[in-house]
Symmetry: C2
Subunit: 336 residues, 2 copies
Amino acid sequence: MSQSFDIAVVGATGTVGETIVHILEERDFPVGELHLLASLESAGSSVPYRGKNVRVREVDAFDFTQVRMVFFAAGPAVTLSFADKARAAGCAVIDLSGALAQAQAPQVVPEANAQKLQGLPKPVQVSSPSPSATALAVVLAPLRGLLDIQRVNVTACLAVSAQGREAVSELARQTAELLNLRPLESTFFDRQMAFNLLAQVGKPDAQGHVPLEKRLVRELRDVLGMPGLKVSVTCVQAPVFFGDSFSVSVQLAGPVDLDAVNALLEAADSIELVEAGDYPTAVGDAVGQDVVYVGRVRHGVDDTSELNLWLTSDNVRKGAALNAVQVAELLIKDQL
Amino acid sequence: MSQSFDIAVVGATGTVGETIVHILEERDFPVGELHLLASLESAGSSVPYRGKNVRVREVDAFDFTQVRMVFFAAGPAVTLSFADKARAAGCAVIDLSGALAQAQAPQVVPEANAQKLQGLPKPVQVSSPSPSATALAVVLAPLRGLLDIQRVNVTACLAVSAQGREAVSELARQTAELLNLRPLESTFFDRQMAFNLLAQVGKPDAQGHVPLEKRLVRELRDVLGMPGLKVSVTCVQAPVFFGDSFSVSVQLAGPVDLDAVNALLEAADSIELVEAGDYPTAVGDAVGQDVVYVGRVRHGVDDTSELNLWLTSDNVRKGAALNAVQVAELLIKDQL
């Protein structure tokens, strides 16, 4: 197939946007013209692609009829401002911001529900879920046939990179301040992030839930195709730069055969199962990798109907940019 | 009551041992003679107490008939070596190492099961549970009457200080190495601890459980007096110096009234409930405090039979040293 596709990346100067550009090159995606777009403040900088620096232009002025496909890798407000324009211009849209309703743009993780891409109205609109939902779906999807899952309990320990470059700088700066016994400044986070855990990632509603937690529950149910799944979730900001970690406890209708679980995890392309007795870490294993790492596969201390897992995943790469590009790879096969 | 008690602290040079000495002074515990003991390597140093430096002597040479009560704040091997000797000398024993069997030395958290101290055979032997079990028991105990608890899911994010001074130094050193772009050395931890989470605290058994997780389940059931309680637990080593954090999801037989939960937590002396919408942190709230902090009290995202909580507790102080001293305070009232 020598066909190529003109593509735009909105939010190209952000961590996820840059990683999309990098992965398009790495996986030799058949890109014709690549248009990198951002808000007024970020426009003017450039991003390396195939040995050249590609200039980032202002999204407001962009004529979407120039491209076949758009990745939205900025915030929800940007997607809401420009997705209709892109769609009116006939572009396929892959949104990473969570701004589009499920009915309008289904959540897709290719390892879990690639079939959702079939028969979508044109131009196609697809959502790439939050990095947490993506990592969890990649690991739980191959187990669906084996397990009668009653409930999933998740504590997601999230890297600061999900909050952008300012959050990364603040963790580094606070850490240096503390090690050098200088007074601590918090400007991005609402309190000390270094050597600490923050139990609330975002602003809670009147019931105490933050948007990220509600989004994770909704997306996980959608992607796994299990609308009634009980999901208990707490998202925690960890003093980690890159890579999310998930403590997962799955409750099942009956005893689970761990050998069968291990065999399914072992067989899945997007999963790296570490050896029994070992465990993966965000920094040491997941960062920079295309797979979700799984370890500590075990029953409950005295409950064989409980399946415990520890997952680590590169939130920017596997959790966001790569998933969006995997969706794009499927779309160009038969939907564009 | 002007009676005073001659007391020994074994493991007096460790973080917990030193904190016991500090708390005995702070709470004006009626100490007669204070004997500080440690292994051969640590003997010879001294620990401040009531304006003096008290010399730490070798535990092997100690005549336990000199004291009425002994705190064992060293490792399980030390307790197993000397507890019988202390008991034979007629001393009450308070063990913090988890070495003694439940039948021999009941686990006690005064806020949860002070009644266990009544009618024990003399000389009394009591265990102070692991810091995690203590923090969880303090918070769950006042809720027992209100809630029909089916299962407790816990992800415990533990401070490195629980592993002793070497672990604290290694986290600081690794962090400085990374910030200064120097090569990273791991000697205490088996891999990078700085800016990372380690999902296995200790050596797992053939089933994948680490001793700390099994101990937590056992102790929590004992202290709450709920032998059949289902407890799902993962212990994680966090890059935090002091203060443990717990993501807790409690499943109940039916819908829970959050106002009633908040009222019970608010009324408990050893709990500080933060305002709705806020959350406590290990570093900013719990460290140095005598209470367990609770926040993020909420239902599941769409499940009112789920109660979620975020706890932070000073692992050395509230989780260990203070609990042991609180037990001692009750013992001297009517058991010694």
